[in-house]
Every structure is written in C-alpha cells, then in structure tokens.
Symmetry: C2
Subunit: 353 residues, 2 copies
C-alpha cells in the first residue's frame, strides 16, 4: 500500500519536486539544485534527476519558488523603441522565460532622455529591482550601465556590439555574420554589393559594416563608398537609402541591409522601379524578424536566436543575483550565440550584363 494518505487538500495533478525526488531516488533538495543549475551536483546524479524530470514532465511551481526563495527576484527590462519586431520577439522570449521561473519581470519604457534624467531614472530603478536587462539601443548607454553598476545591480546587455567591463552581454558575432552574408553574395557572383548601415548609436551597426568591408576586400573587391548608405534601422530610412543606391549610374546588383525592416524597404523601392527581386536585384537582411517572412519575396537573412538570447540573459541575471548575495561579484561574461544564414527567396546570381 502506498502513501495514499495525503491531505484532502491536494489539488491538481501537477507533479511536485517530491515525486521527482522519489522517482530519482534522491532528496528533494538535490532535485532543486538540479533545476536551478547549481554546479555542485555530481554529473551522474544530475543525469538521473534530469531523466526523472523529463519522464514525469515536471516543471517547478513558480509560486512556491518565489515564496521560498530569498532572492527578491524582480528584474527590469528597459526598452525604448517599442515599434520594432526585434523588440517584440525579445519581450516574448523574456516574458515567457520569466513566467516559468517565477521571477517578476517588470517592463519599463524609457523614451529618449537626457543623460541627467537617465541617471536619475537608473538610480531610482536600482532601488526596486535586483537586476536589469538592457536591449538595444539602451544597451549602449554608459550612463545607465554605470549608474546601475555603482548600485551593485547586475546588468546584462543584449546584442550590443561591444563588450565592456561591468556589463555582461549576450549577443551574436555581428562581424562574422555580416562577413558570411557578404561572402555568400560574392559566391553568387555579385561584385557590386550595396550596403545599408544600421543606426550609428549602436555598436553592432559598426561591426556589421566592418564584416562587410573586410570580406569584400579579402575577396579582392574594392570598397566603393558610393555603394554604402547610412540607415537607421527603420523602414523609412531603408527607403531613402535604397533610392540613393539605385540611383547610381551603375547600381549595385545586390543590397545588404543591416536589418530586415530596411531590406523590406529596399524590396519595395525595387518593385516601384520595376526591378524584380531577386532576378534583377538581390536583397538580403539581418535579424530574421517577423518582417523577413512577411514580405514577398521572403528575405534571405541572418537568423539571431532572439528568444533563446532573451532566455539566456534572464538566466545569467538570475545566477548573478543569486551569486551576488553570496559574496564576490562575478566577472562579467560575454555570451556569444551562434547565428545562421537563412536562405530564402530574395537572393540570386546577378543578372547578365
């Protein structure tokens, strides 16, 4: 006879940590350690527990977690440019992860503000949260990062192009990704490749451009400044840049935009001019956001695992928060994610001359 006693209070069929522990033949405490990714569990034990977790399809009760945990897990994510597909993917990823972890994610919207105001806001925020996630473009702000660091609040930047002391970051290798895309275009036979830069206030923009530039040169193609236009990551700016690029006497046969929204704009301009994509003009983007597949033809682009990055950011932060109270502040880490070149329908060999 089993322990059928149990209180009459027992509700739903949710699997608890005790059941997992019993199945794995360890104590609940050990299971807890595994689910929290603590590192002082023997590999073999971890495996057994993991298997039990998987078989029982266990997922920790967030309410219990946050109740028991001494970590006041409130984490803020400060965003600033709400109208980008990139950001919304990031939000979904982070929020989803947060709901699984019982940490409270508070969203703050900080519009363009003066450094002094930013500083004040950061100081105020530091009093109510345990950690902060900074997506672009705020991830570049030294005043926010500095103020938060001074208050001992761990910060983690997402998709910044630059790795700084004090601030951990989660990102992809923008340089290499842009380089691969450029090489891809070259291998298709293009030599006149236009480039639309990203917003200058984001270091990732520079990295992407550097990747383009370097790869062009390493393939023996001289950089033609007339083929490079400044953009600002917006559809509108992509429109302008594309007009400029296609106005050249010998226009590019391919245009590499620093993000998908601008690439979509390029397609639109091309169509308006009677150019077929990709037959007459190849267009490629960057980020693989919603727009990449919304537009027609669908964009060849660089995929960033945005949701995974958001998750990782939250994880890192949680760990840091937990560590911090344990003593020494950990070294900032630089977590590089793998990107991927996604081929769709917007690129092809250049037209015959």
């Amino acid at each position: 006879m089993s322990t059928a006693r149990r209180t009459r209070r027992r509700r739903g069929t949710a699997v608890t940590i005790h059941e997992v522990a019993r199945k794995a033949g360890v104590s609940p405490m050990t299971v807890s350690r595994v689910t929290n990714g603590e590192d002082n569990v023997r590999e073999a034990t971890r495996d057994i527990v993991m298997r039990a977790i998987r078989e029982l399809n266990y997922s920790p009760n967030p309410a219990a977690r946050s109740l028991a945990g001494a970590t006041g897990t409130r984490i803020a994510m400060i965003y600033s440019n709400p109208s980008s597909a990139y950001l919304s993917e990031l939000l979904v990823g982070a929020l989803d992860k947060a709901s699984k972890t019982a940490c409270q994610l508070v969203l703050e919207k900080w519009d363009e503000m003066k450094p002094a105001a930013e500083k004040a806001a950061a100081r105020k925020l530091a009093q109510s949260v345990a950690g902060v996630i900074l997506p672009p473009p705020l991830c570049e702000s030294d005043v926010i990062a500095g103020e938060l660091a001074a208050a001992q609040i761990p910060v983690i930047a997402i998709a910044t192009g630059r790795f700084r002391a004090n601030v951990s970051c989660v990102r992809i290798d923008d340089f290499r990704a842009a380089s691969e895309m450029t090489a891809h275009l070259i291998s298709l036979g293009h030599t006149r490749i236009g480039f639309i830069k990203g917003h200058p206030n984001q270091t990732a923009s520079a990295q992407r451009f550097a990747g383009y530039e370097t790869t062009l040169e390493s393939h023996g193609i001289a950089l033609n400044p007339a083929y490079v236009q400044q953009g600002y990551f917006t559809y509108r700016s992509g429109l302008d840049a594309a007009e400029q690029l296609l106005d050249r006497k010998r226009p590019p046969t391919a245009i590499f935009a620093s993000n998908d929204d601008m690439a979509a704009a390029v397609i639109s301009v091309a169509h308006r001019r009677g150019l077929e994509v990709p037959k007459d003009l190849s267009v490629v983007g960057f980020d693989d956001t919603l727009t990449a597949t919304t537009v027609w033809p669908e964009l060849t682009t660089i995929r960033q695992p945005i949701a995974a990055m958001a998750e990782a950011a939250l994880n890192l932060l949680l760990r840091k928060v937990r560590q911090k109270k344990g003593g020494e502040a950990a070294e900032p880490v630089d977590h590089l994610f793998a990107h991927e070149l996604i081929r769709r329908d917007s690129d092809a060999p250049p037209p015959r001359e």
Copy 2:
C-alpha cells in the same frame, strides 16, 4: 524590545498577514477572510482589520496566495500562427499581466491539426491547467471549446466574431469598426471602394465584411462584387488580391484590407504599378499592429487595444477560476472593447477623374 529575532531568511520589508493580524488583534485567518471578501466575519471585526490593512498598506503576496490556495492558477494560451504581429502583441500583453499576477501562463503552440487530435490535445490540456485563453484562429474551434467546457475548464476567446454559449469572449465590435472605416472612406469622397476579406475560418472576417457591405449600401452605393476579393490575412494573399483589384477596368480608388499585413501588400503592389499612395489610391487596414507604422506611408487603420484585451482576458479567467470552486459556474460574458479609427498617411480624397 521587539521581536527582532525572526529568521535570518526574512527578506524585503513587505508587510505580511501576521503583522496585520497582530496590529488588529485578531488571528491571521480572520485577516485572510477579510481580504478575500468572505461574508462570515462580523462587521465590527472587519472594520478593525480593514483599518489595520490600510495603515500598514498591506497587500497580500500573490505567490503565497496561489501556493496556499486551492486554485491551481496555471493558465494556458494556445496559439497557432506565430508569425503574425497581432499575436505577438497579444502574447506580450498577456505575459506581462501574468507576471504581475503570479499566475503561470503556459504557452502552447498547436499547429493545424485534425479534429480528433485537437480533441485529444484539449483533453490532455484540461488536466494540467485551470483555464485557457484562445486567440484567433483557434478561438473559432468548437471542438476545443467543447472539450474544455466538458472538463469544466473555463475558456475565454479573444477576438472571435461570434459569441457562443460556454465560452466567454473579449473582442471589439468588428462590424461597427469596419462600418466606421467604410464611412470614413466615403466621407473622403470615395465611391469605388475595394475590400479584401479576411480568412474565412475566422468569424471576425465575416463581420468586417458585413460592416463594409452594410455601410456602403446605407450610403446608397451598390456593392460591386468585382471590388471584393478573398484574402487570408497574409501579406502574400494581400498581394494577389491587390493585383486582382487593380486589374479592373475601372479600379477602386480606395482599398480597405481586413488587416494591416494585407494593406501593406496593397501599398507594395500600388507602388509597383506606379501608383502613389494616398494620392492615386487610398489604402486602409485593420488592427493597428506593428506593420501599420513600419510601412510607408503609415497606415490609417482601426486600433484594437490588444494588450488591454489580453489583460482583460486573463483577469476574467482568474475570476472565473476562483468562482468555479465556489459553486455555480458563472454565465459566460461578452466583453466588448472600444476600438478607434487611427488616421495616418495612407488615405486621402480620390484623384480627380
């Protein structure tokens, strides 16, 4: 000297139910009864407790509540078409609200499946969650709703066009919104107004069309079937529909697309044909999703308060879950939100003939 002992685990300065109880000179249980609005507390006692609550500025810890309460607050949101801007806004809204409420929102992705499979999945889901939110297009599925209702799981549909027994819903008045938009176009001087329908599997599509149709007629404009095209809410389908519409001998001077993605597609086609928007052709959309402001010119469209609707859905569900255990299942409600016609740059009076 006060009871400074307390465990070393005690964290933040949050006021607990015990402190309120001590201040009020009653037991924690009584305080709990008061905060939950139970009716078997003497009036005098209630007042004392209320005052203590106010003075201490106490608010119950949601995590503890959901842990101790019999209500297993796990709520599922089942989505199916992840690549729509509409959905991502919905997700952000719901997730954000969830994180504030300490209820666990689990996201499930159910791709197109056979009724039998859907039924099985619904039955399985019913065992692990306390409530379900159904955004489009799943909100139309009678088998999911039916199965869940049979299992006594409260369901709430978002943005369905139809109000059914058993299923509460949160939506806007699609008919009226479409009607207003049509009237707006007419007031601008348009008489040849094209319409691109939404996906036929969503009842909201029919409502929008009905709004268009009715308003046209009430203004004495005969419905021209050649000006109506079937669409499927995708950019691609908008492209096709726009081509058809603009191929007419006397093409429409305005096109009303049933959502923003399709409207964006219309703009693209118009541009490709050398038509300026809005000078030569007015284009309006529906939903006010990200695409509405990404595209250029920015779309005049109908704004749905998507995030607010997601919040409301969650609230309703939470209330229902809590009530259910109290006895009678409540009547399904039909919560209508106000929409708004947002004028931007894609509409204008028709060109001179």
